[in-house]
């Protein structure tokens, strides 16, 4: 079934203790009544707690599709989402991933007021995806973090974000379907790696991003290593 590609070496005793401590910490939530927003089943093993924690921020580097993938499950569950600072967003890919356009709000050019815009959006929508035009300072990030906790919203930032609950990045990307002068792009396999700030333990998974059906899915063994282009 769903197997992680990165195979870890046999853990030593110290690592085992650290791992168990991290699991205990994960179970002890930061607040008693922490709410969760659903995460895509392909992404949940990469996220601490297996879901998007209400009131936390996530950082995504290297892929717009992966950042949009974080929005898919909350949107499918009926939550409102907002995208800030991305004038070049491809709406076709957004719809293809299964995000409901009726409940998606775009603020393409927030300009210098982007922090105020993000704060205002956190008040009303559940998930805010932002590409910060400038690197956010510690003070700004903690102001936003306080607001996220109060409103129980989730922030997904493209690029660096101070004290993100988890930082996701992609690597080892390979497209299928395209050859030297023939075929067309059909899907892409990437390794999505995640570093959780509290446990500090990295996790990685091979995913279709996007798959042949435009959606996100884990790479399963039987078609796992097929990266040669399809010939028509």
């Amino acid at each position: 079934m769903f197997e992680a590609v990165a195979v870890e070496p046999e853990p030593t005793r110290a690592e085992l203790v650290k791992d168990l401590q991290a699991r205990i910490r994960r179970m002890q939530r930061s607040r008693l009544d922490t709410h969760e927003l659903p995460a895509h089943p392909a992404l949940s093993p990469l996220l601490p707690g297996g879901a998007l924690m209400a009131g936390s921020a996530y950082a995504v580097t290297g892929s717009t599709t992966l950042a949009l993938g974080m929005l898919q499950a909350p949107s499918a569950a009926g939550a409102w989402c907002a995208v800030v600072g991305m004038p070049d967003l491809g709406v076709g890919a957004v719809a293809g991933l299964g995000i409901d356009l009726e409940r998606l709000v775009l603020v393409p050019q927030p300009g210098r007021q982007w922090l105020a815009v993000v704060s205002a959006l956190i008040d009303v929508v559940s998930v805010v995806l932002v590409r910060p035009p400038a690197s956010p300072g510690e003070a700004a990030a903690s102001r936003i973090a306080a607001r996220l906790r109060r409103r129980e919203a989730v922030l997904v930032a493209i690029g660096e974000w101070p004290r993100a609950t988890a930082a996701l990045a992609i690597g080892d990307s390979s497209w299928t379907g395209l050859g030297a002068g023939f075929g067309r792009l059909t899907g892409r396999q990437v390794t999505v790696s995640s570093t959780a700030s509290r446990s500090g333990r990295p996790a990685a998974r091979r995913l279709w991003l996007p798959g042949p059906d435009q959606a996100l899915s884990p790479v399963t063994q039987n078609i796992g290593r097929r990266s040669s282009p399809s010939v028509h």
Binding site: V105, P108, V125, S173
Partner: protein
């Protein structure tokens, strides 16, 4: 049954859309100006007409005839709104005004003629009223039937009056050309049959006209003969829903103005509710001490409450760049609906309401077009397949996404679609530019793509060219291009387009 309608007085204001536009935008009235709707000139100023611009002409042709022409979009809503002022002024001197269209009104002349002592005196009074409103191009015609009276008004010279004596409307209409009927098909066909005037058309037997041109032709035939059964239906003056508040000392802080507006906002909503109406679009106008102002329409997905109107006032003040204090605020409904259509359900409307007010607040910060929703549209390139609609507006999509769009790229769609395509160059293994000849053959396989900054990406896989030759029948929208997909050595995929101007990156599958 009477064949001929009542005796009517028609006031016609030449180039009303232009006058309304100039008043609204405080423009110069003597400049050549054309208003464009659906690609053709809908109305033009006298200065533009002197240069050869005509109604119905394509925009490009009008601009080539008059290079100094100012072109703007025709807004029928503005025409009607601005004409309201003229109607109100006319209703003060004449009873039962029938607005035919913005710029044209008809009145039954019998009453006014008796009151003012003759048709000419009544007509002079109307012309004087129009002159008081600053409408020098207003003309008046009096005749039996609406069509004849309108033609009489149009045939008058500036500020003139043409009165066609009773029963002589057929003789008056007879020498006019057939295209005044306003039917392009008949206007084109009749001259080719040798019938150039309304008199000639009216001389045909009614049965023959009905057999050849159908009921529409029969109706126009009756008009040409001076038989116009249409009367003037006087309008019922609409109830006044506008509210205004003046400030004796100009206010320069938004919260002061918002506080001052609270009372009239309540009165505004209560006045509408008393008529069982709710407001779905509201127009807010500010006048400031030094005479400039701000005017815009705010839409609401459901209906406004008084507090929401006050919010709009505050946002508009924050967004407007006013240089002096506000002396007057006017609130008027732009669209109303019966209250019954907007009853709230018992459950289920709560959260979306919050979303709307929060997003409207962001709109207050960034402007109306700062917050968008995306709707799918039809087209062959990813940029064409999406349309952005400002939050609160009703989506208007020019191209329907549902019909098949052969030639569109199959999914997956690129996650990044450059709003402004990025220029780049694509080279082959020997570092020569890659081109496509007119038969669609590639000069050499692409090997490297070089961005504008000089960064080089080696291509490991590519496919194309997929030719695109669309809308060749329309000179403005015609497009010929070749599309490619390419994957570089870093595993990044791109949508590249080669057209007459060179290579562009249109999308990035990131």
């Amino acid at each position: 049954m009477t064949e001929t309608g009542a005796r009517l007085l028609v006031l016609w204001v030449a180039d009303w859309p232009v006058i309304a536009y100039v008043r609204e935008h405080r423009g110069v009235s003597g400049a050549p100006l054309a208003l464009i709707g659906s690609g053709v000139v809908q109305s033009c100023s006298a200065a533009a007409r002197a240069e050869g611009v005509r109604r119905g002409m394509r925009q490009r042709e009008a601009q080539s005839r008059c290079p100094g022409l100012r072109v703007s979009r025709h807004d029928p809503g503005l025409d009607a709104r601005a004409f309201e002022e003229v109607l109100t002024a006319l209703e003060a001197v004449l009873p039962g005004v029938h607005p035919v269209r913005p710029g044209t009104v008809a009145v039954r002349v019998r009453g006014p003629a008796r009151f003012y002592g003759g048709e000419r005196a009544a007509a002079l009074r109307v012309v004087a009223t129009a002159a008081e409103l600053g409408l020098p191009g207003a003309r008046v015609g009096v005749a039996d039937g609406l069509f004849a009276a309108e033609q009489a008004a149009r045939s008058a010279d500036a500020a003139g009056i043409v009165i066609v004596p009773p029963g002589e409307q057929a003789a008056f209409l007879a020498p006019l050309p057939v295209n005044v009927l306003g039917d392009p098909e008949l206007g084109g066909l009749l001259p080719r049959l040798g019938i150039r005037t309304l008199g000639g058309f009216a001389a045909l037997a009614p049965g023959d006209v009905a057999a050849r041109f159908g009921p529409d032709g029969a109706r126009l035939h009756a008009l040409a003969g001076g038989r116009d059964p249409r009367g003037a239906a006087p309008r019922i003056p609409p109830r006044e829903f506008d509210v205004r508040v003046g400030f004796e000392t100009a206010l320069d802080r938004a919260d002061q103005v918002a506080f001052g507006v609270r009372g009239i906002a309540d009165a505004f909503i209560a006045g509408l509710l008393a008529q069982r109406l709710v407001c779905t679009a509201v127009r807010i106008e500010f006048t400031t001490e030094n005479g400039d102002g701000s005017d815009r329409v705010w839409l609401h997905p459901r209906s406004f409450t008084a507090a929401e109107v006050v919010d709009r006032v505050r946002w508009q003040l924050d967004g407007a760049d006013l240089r002096s204090g506000v002396t007057e605020v006017r609130i008027r409904p732009d669209a109303v609906d019966p209250a019954g259509a907007h009853e709230r359900g018992l459950w289920g409307t709560g959260p979306d309401e919050g979303v709307h007010s929060g997003l409207s607040r962001v709109q207050g910060m960034l402007g109306h077009r700062g917050v968008l929703t995306a709707v799918p549209a039809g087209g062959r390139s990813p940029a064409e397949r999406q349309a952005m609609v400002p939050w609160g507006d009703r989506p208007v999509v020019a191209r329907d996404p549902t019909p098949p769009w052969p030639g569109a790229l199959p999914p997956p769609a690129p996650a990044t679609v450059y709003a402004v395509p990025r220029p780049l160059s694509v080279r082959d293994a020997h570092d020569r530019p890659v081109t496509v000849d007119e038969r669609g053959a590639l000069s050499a396989p692409p090997a490297v793509m070089v961005s504008q900054t000089g960064a080089r990406r080696r291509l490991t896989a590519w496919a194309g060219p997929w030719p695109l030759d669309e809308r060749w029948w329309d000179a403005r929208e015609a497009r010929t291009a070749s599309r490619f997909q390419a994957v570089d050595a870093g595993g990044e995929a791109w949508l590249l387009v080669l057209d007459a101007e060179g290579w562009w990156a249109h999308g990035h599958y990131d």
